[in-house]
């Protein structure tokens, strides 16, 4: 939300070559001056903007850097959405605006924590209720299909060996200490228990 303000101020400042007035900022963000004033106060408190005489607001060096980053992100997303959707630039620009702040710097972390929390959901197939379960729940010789892999970013090697959602695996060996050998794409891969535990699978049809 605050990032919109910084971007708007940057636009005004670079177009007019002078500090932006509160009214201009409110107009650019389609809001009233009172709301704009409150937000500017917050931004000033964080050291991104400074108030200038005559109800005007200017960016600090820190604010300028952040605003430029937001603007770049906006621009990239706009281009991407255009390419992807084949929609006109204006519509893409609006969508990009609502999207850019949800795109945080640690999406992968959030993604993996999301995947850690997720509970295996029952799936229906030909009337049987099949559960998505950890690979280690299955026995030697079973053929299974990968449903999901937790903490994927840390196991790049699995991905390069072809252990990806949808891939069929055969359990070749399963020791009592939970070390496991899986056959994937015709190759046998030995996997440590803690990594095997992050592979969720379901029985292959």
């Amino acid at each position: 939300m605050c990032e919109d303000y910084l971007e708007a101020i940057l636009n005004i400042v670079s177009l007019q070559n002078r500090p932006g007035r509160l009214a201009e900022i409110a107009e650019a963000l389609r809001t009233d001056t009172a709301t704009a004033d409150r937000t500017v106060a917050v931004l000033a408190g964080e050291g991104y903007v400074v108030r200038c005489p005559g109800d005007a607001v200017d960016l600090t060096e820190q604010g300028r850097i952040l605003a430029a980053k937001v603007a770049r992100k906006h621009c990239v997303l706009q281009c991407f959405l255009t390419e992807m959707l084949g929609i006109d630039t204006d519509a893409a620009s609006r969508e990009a605006c609502t999207l850019e702040h949800e795109v945080s710097d640690d999406t992968i972390d959030r993604l993996s924590s999301y995947m850690d929390q997720i509970q295996p959901a029952p799936r229906h197939r030909w009337g049987n209720v099949e559960h998505v379960r950890p690979l280690l729940d299955f026995a030697e010789g079973d053929v299974v299909e990968v449903a999901m892999i937790r903490r994927f970013g840390r196991n790049r090697r699995l991905m390069d060996l072809g252990v990806l959602p949808g891939e069929r695996l055969q359990i070749r060996r399963r020791l009592h200490n939970r070390s496991i050998v899986i056959r994937v794409k015709g190759c046998d891969i030995a996997v440590s228990p803690e990594i095997a535990a992050s592979i969720l699978v379901e029985r292959s049809p």
């Binding site: 992100k73 390419e83 993604l111 090697r157 072809g162 939970r178 030995a190 440590s192 228990p193 990594i195």
Partner: protein, 616 residues
């Protein structure tokens, strides 16, 4: 002209490399890494052609040292032509890397190796499909029979060209590639790499990150996962178009024995014990020959020259160092390397690592760490050099630490020569038990105390094969020369220093100084300390020096049972030998080397003193 061989581990790359280059292979470390790079030369139509054997990898976009190295090598234009080697019996998985290599757009040819293995499995391979798709020359070879290997160099010289394939990516990824091209002018390869966070261009990386976040939010999959899945799917399509497989033939499954706990662990133990016994027996016999030969052929004639005492002292020190170096290198290290090369080339090592994985976890490492530990029983130096195979620095440190404590074959000489012969077999075993217990405790403590992330093991079990004798010898030989290269300078310098100390009477001053300490703490005479110091060169020198200083080989006559036992325990635990320290410095850095040395010295002294206190 330089060719580079690139491919998955275990596709026969090294065999091809060896057939192309013959002798004169240079093993070098790539700048800034410990990853080995083999270079060799071959001659074709009077042109000298350099061949580089890149380490086996699964992907160009992974984060392992090897993958980073190959990526850098390709980026920096390290080769004029790429020879991509594939195992045609595991085509689909191998195509995944090939597609990545093809994306780099460097001049290349493709070698589908192991055609013999594929036809044994009843596979019919149509190389023309790949040739048409990639627009590059594709050869079908069988390196183990030398079939079509001679075509590789001519094809690479005359017909290598950039591949023309575009991997069909997910439409989001394709949109991202187009966006990055429009906005920043990035090409397809740079965009794909930037989306996965690889590259140096900060502006491009930032833009790619923004788009990647957006795609990930929509897919609930990481961008790396999406790209990998696209490549794997394409690889599968190609493989299905290329290979016809009638009926998968049934062949005996040796893995049924090797990777089950009930049968596998006895086999593992049996192999290790048989190997150690053989190395020990063959090694001691050869060592006697070599040391004796040096004595008669070099040291005695040299002393007979009657040089001035100082020159004679230095000369003898140098000869003794050479004697020590070769006395370990050929008998123990070389014999051991041969065994290890056989185990590696046969594919057994991966089975051992799988079996040991769970046990190794307790010590803070994964199954692969069984390799340095087994190696250490033969000689600590190759053991420590092998820790580079382990994934993380944390594991490398723990493995190096523990490997340096494992009683190597020369320490076995001491245990056998002193404890077993003067006290008894049971006492000799008790020394092993004490050391084993200390290694376990150290491992448990280290696994808790060492910082760094824990990684599990993801390891391909390479197919079991019969090792090629010439390849085994070549591998062992190149490792042996690496060993000599590390150990010799240290041995020479150390030996000259000690010789000088002795010459100027520093040793006897030292003995007088430490006599009260050794007497009080361990009940040992002062000359035992000198023997300990000499043990730093070559562990069994401690034994020999002790015999010389005691004035008799019948140690039982001059020292009590307790004294002999304590001396042995302290020597076995005390500082790894100089060659080991040199290897430690090279592989894990001087800080860890210092820590290992201090720790083992302290441990040796403390345990020795404790035994003296308890048993007196």
């Amino acid at each position: 002209m330089r060719l580079a061989l690139i491919g998955n581990p275990g596709v026969g790359k090294s065999l091809i490399f060896n057939q192309l280059t013959g002798l004169g292979v240079e093993v070098s470390n790539y700048p800034g890494t410990t990853v080995e790079l083999q270079r060799g030369n071959t001659c074709y139509r009077r042109e000298m052609i350099e061949v580089v054997d890149l380490p086996g990898i699964y992907s160009l976009e992974g984060d392992s040292d090897e993958e980073g190295l190959v990526r850098r090598f390709l980026q920096e234009g390290g080769a004029d032509a790429i020879v991509a080697v594939l195992n045609v019996a595991r085509l689909e998985r191998n195509l995944y890397l090939l597609l990545q290599v093809a994306e780099y757009g460097l001049p290349m040819i493709v070698v589908l190796n192991m055609a013999d293995e594929a036809s044994k499995q009843g596979l019919e391979v149509d190389a023309a499909v790949l040739q048409k798709l990639l627009g590059v020359e594709v050869l079908l070879t069988a390196a183990s029979q030398g079939k079509n290997i001679e075509q590789i160099v001519p094809a690479a010289l005359s017909a290598s060209r950039p591949a023309t394939v575009d991997i069909p990516y997910d439409h989001h990824v394709e949109a991202a590639i187009r966006s990055l091209h429009k906005m920043l002018g990035a090409d397809r390869l740079a965009s794909i790499r930037a989306l996965q966070g690889i590259g140096d261009d900060q502006e491009l990386l930032e833009a790619a990150r923004t788009i990647a976040d957006e795609i990930e939010n929509r897919h609930r999959m990481t961008i790396g996962q999406i790209i990998a899945a696209n490549r794997h799917n394409f690889a599968r399509q190609i493989a299905e178009a290329m290979v016809r497989r009638p009926e998968p033939p049934q062949y005996p499954d040796l893995d049924g024995i090797l990777t089950r706990a009930i049968s596998g662990i006895p086999v593992l133990v049996g192999i290790v014990v048989a190997m150690l016994l053989t190395v020990f027996v063959v090694g001691s016999w050869l060592e006697g020959l070599i040391v004796g030969f040096f004595e008669v052929a070099a040291i005695q004639p040299f002393t007979a020259l009657g040089l001035p005492p100082l020159a004679e002292r230095i000369g003898v020190s140098i000869l003794v160092a050479l004697q020590a170096g070769f006395g370990i290198a050929f008998p123990f290290v070389f014999t051991f390397y041969i065994f290890i090369a056989v185990l590696e080339d046969s594919g057994y090592m991966t089975r051992a690592a799988f079996l040991a994985d769970s046990a190794m976890h307790r010590l803070g490492m994964h199954g692969g760490a069984i390799i340095p530990i087994i190696l250490a029983f033969g000689c600590n130096v190759p053991a420590i050099m092998s820790v580079r195979l382990l994934g993380s620095r944390r594991e490398r440190m723990i493995a190096a630490f523990l490997a340096a404590m494992v009683p190597c074959s020369t320490r076995t000489v001491i245990i056998a020569g002193i404890v077993a012969s003067f006290i008894g077999i049971a006492a000799a075993f008790s020394v092993y038990l004490v050391v084993a217990a200390l290694i376990l405790l150290t491992g448990l403590a280290l696994s808790r105390a060492t910082p760094g992330e824990r990684f599990g093991m993801i390891m391909e079990m390479v197919p079991l094969r019969r090792p090629k004798p010439e390849l085994v010898m070549k591998k062992s030989w190149s490792r042996l020369s690496e060993f000599l290269f590390i150990a010799m300078p240290v041995l020479l310098a150390g030996s000259v220093f000690l010789g000088l100390f002795e010459f100027f009477g520093v040793m006897s001053i030292f003995e007088r100084m430490v006599e009260p300490v050794t007497q009080g703490l361990f009940g040992l005479p002062g000359y035992a300390a000198t023997a300990l110091v000499f043990g730093i060169f070559r562990k069994e020198m401690a034994f020999e020096t002790l015999a010389i200083l005691a004035g008799t080989a019948d140690l039982g006559a001059v020292l009590t049972t307790l004294q002999l036992y304590i001396f042995t325990v302290v020597t076995v635990l005390f500082v790894p030998c100089l060659s080991t320290i040199a290897a430690l410095i090279r592989e894990v850095g001087s800080k860890v080397a210092l820590a290992v040395s201090l720790y083992t010295v302290t441990l040796g002294l403390v345990v020795g003193a404790l035994i003296y206190r308890i048993l007196i």
